[in-house]
């Protein structure tokens, strides 16, 4: 079968190619969830645009949140190549029928959270996303290349925010440490449940969508991040964290999976708020979109009439 051979040969599947229905459905679900995460992910950082502590930081933050909106659009476009449209996907999000990354259900309580999100959350996202640049589905892989490039820029900005804070006043340093204390564990949860408990993984791997296990990526993230924390002069809030000579990796403490389950079930500090903001923006914007559509129809009709007359 051509599809299987292409997968085996690591030839990219394109929209015009035949693909199994399960492959299509898996991709739609994953790309949509990813797109939704970009859109909902604008909120925790958007929350600080009006309060950024310098004009330079305000500009950087605004540009970053805008990039996230752009990523959302690329990803919706990638999903659209699979035969769904953005409105449909947004409706599923608004009805709570599709998910977004749970990390965005934590509140941003201080400016340092802009740093922690950049450094840890974007860092974890990149770790998850880099392998997706080689995803078997062409449009998704290409979108990821572009996104990863921007994400690593964001991650450096986050690191720089924390670096400035941790080398600033004692209050700034405490703010940075507090943000890392709050975002560390949720970042580790971003890689998903342990492989032993993970569904979908085997099939996604076979299809060339998923390349590495959750635990492997999580370990890579820890290994990459711990030395960076030293550079920042910030403490990772894990008493069990230590270098393990034998494995050549950092060993780390147990993750509170109950917390992740609770948040996935909807009992996170900001689930309700994030969804409400998204729905409100969409509903309050309905008259705007309707009027733009009516205008477009009217003027398309006018253009047709004019060209008929010509």
């Amino acid at each position: 079968m051509r599809f299987d051979r292409m997968i085996a040969d690591e030839v990219r599947i394109e929209p015009r190619d035949w693909m199994p229905e399960g492959y299509r459905r898996t991709l739609i679900r994953q790309i949509a969830q990813h797109a939704h995460s970009e859109i909902i992910g604008m909120q925790p950082e958007g929350n600080w645009i009006t309060r950024a502590p310098s004009l330079r930081r305000k500009a950087i933050l605004m540009a970053k949140v805008q990039d996230e909106a752009g990523h959302g659009l690329y990803l919706y476009s990638a999903a659209e190549t699979l035969g769904v449209d953005r409105e449909e996907l947004l409706d599923l999000l608004h009805q709570g029928k599709q998910k977004y990354s749970s990390i965005f259900n934590y509140p941003t309580l201080t400016w340092a959270d802009m740093g922690a999100i950049g450094w840890l959350v974007d860092g974890a996202a990149i770790m998850n996303q880099v392998p997706l640049c080689r995803c078997s589905y062409g449009p998704y892989g290409r979108a990821m290349v572009r996104i990863c490039k921007e994400e690593s820029f964001h991650q450096r900005q986050g690191f720089e925010i924390l670096h400035t804070l941790s080398h600033g006043t004692p209050a700034q340093k405490a703010m940075a440490q507090d943000a890392v204390d709050r975002f560390w564990w949720p970042s580790l949860m971003m890689f998903g449940p342990p492989d032993s408990a993970s569904t979908h993984s085997a099939q996604s791997t076979a299809w060339g969508i998923k390349r590495f296990g959750n635990d492997e990526l999580r370990q890579r993230f820890v290994d990459m991040t711990v030395p960076q924390a030293d550079v920042l002069g910030l403490r990772i809030p894990d008493p069990d964290l230590r270098w393990d000579e034998a494995t050549g990796h950092y060993a780390f403490g147990a993750i509170d999976w109950d917390e992740l389950d609770r948040i996935i079930r909807g009992d996170g500090p900001c689930n309700a708020q994030r969804m409400e903001r998204r729905r409100t923006a969409h509903e309050e914007g309905a008259w705007v979109r309707d009027s733009a559509d009516a205008y477009a129809r009217k003027h398309a009709a006018a253009a047709t009439t004019t060209s008929d007359a010509a």
Binding site: S54, L55, Q66, L73, A171, E284, W287, S291
Partner: protein, 247 residues
């Protein structure tokens, strides 16, 4: 006070405060493209504000940088026109404000390309391009809302009505500009081209140019609406909470 400093601060505050208002839209826009578009416009304005305020601080020579000017002045020291500080309202109010302001800035920056002050002339060359996009963006939306659905039409007219009392202030004769011949632009001289452009858009949008019964005045003298006093605490709080800190 040095009139050049006052002039730069006035233009800089216009851009800064409107960037702040537009920033409030992000994650609340009617479609994702508009989150991006409003963010772009806000970023352009913030960029203009930073150049203008930085240069004002240099000319002043009292050691104030862009952040000192943005974050450490009180309400009465801000020199923006009142238009930019009014609340966002719905998307139609924001687009009405954008049409008025971007068409004003278009004329302003076009004229300032010939300023004898090199920084202003340089900034103008860049800003004209930015504001050409801002003006086009607002124009397209005023057309779509005014000449789209009935609700769009009603809301867009209400948006114009809400914003028009703040128009005259943009074109009022200004003591500061009068002291800077060649450097600054005389605001009344911008009125005719602005009116020609805006009235055409309003007419094409099947809307009516409002004839307000009152007019704002005094922003350039630090006499603002009560709204500014609620915008500044949000904008300045964190910076002020950590005196002397770097970010």
């Amino acid at each position: 006070a040095d009139p050049l400093v006052a002039y730069l601060v006035g233009l800089g505050d216009d851009a800064l405060i409107l960037a702040q208002r537009l920033g409030e839209w992000i994650t609340r826009a009617p479609q994702i493209e508009e989150d991006i578009a409003l963010g772009n416009i806000a970023l352009d304005l913030l960029g203009q504000a930073r150049v203008l305020l930085s240069h004002a601080g240099e000319v002043e020579g009292a050691g104030r940088d862009e952040d000192a000017l943005a974050y450490l002045r009180d309400e009465r020291e801000f020199r923006n026109v009142c238009l930019v500080e009014i609340p966002n309202g719905d998307f139609a109010v924001t687009m009405a404000r954008q049409l008025v302001f971007s068409a004003y800035q278009y004329e302003l920056w076009t004229a300032l390309r010939n300023s004898t002050e090199p920084l202003l002339a340089d900034l103008a060359a860049k800003a004209v391009k930015e504001v050409t996009y801002h003006r086009d963006h607002a124009t397209q939306w005023v057309l779509r809302l005014g000449d789209g659905t009935d609700e769009g039409h009603r809301r867009m007219q209400a948006g114009l009505d809400r914003v028009w009392p703040y128009v005259a202030e943009l074109f009022a004769a200004d003591d500061v500009a009068a002291q800077l011949p060649g450097v600054a632009v005389d605001p009344p001289s911008l009125l005719a081209p602005w009116t020609a452009y805006v009235e055409d858009v309003v007419a094409r949008a099947t809307l009516t140019v409002p004839t307000p019964t009152w007019h704002s005045r005094g922003g350039r003298r630090g006499l603002h609406t009560e709204h500014l006093g609620h915008l500044l605490p949000e904008m300045q709080h964190l910076h002020r909470a950590h005196p002397g800190a770097r970010w």
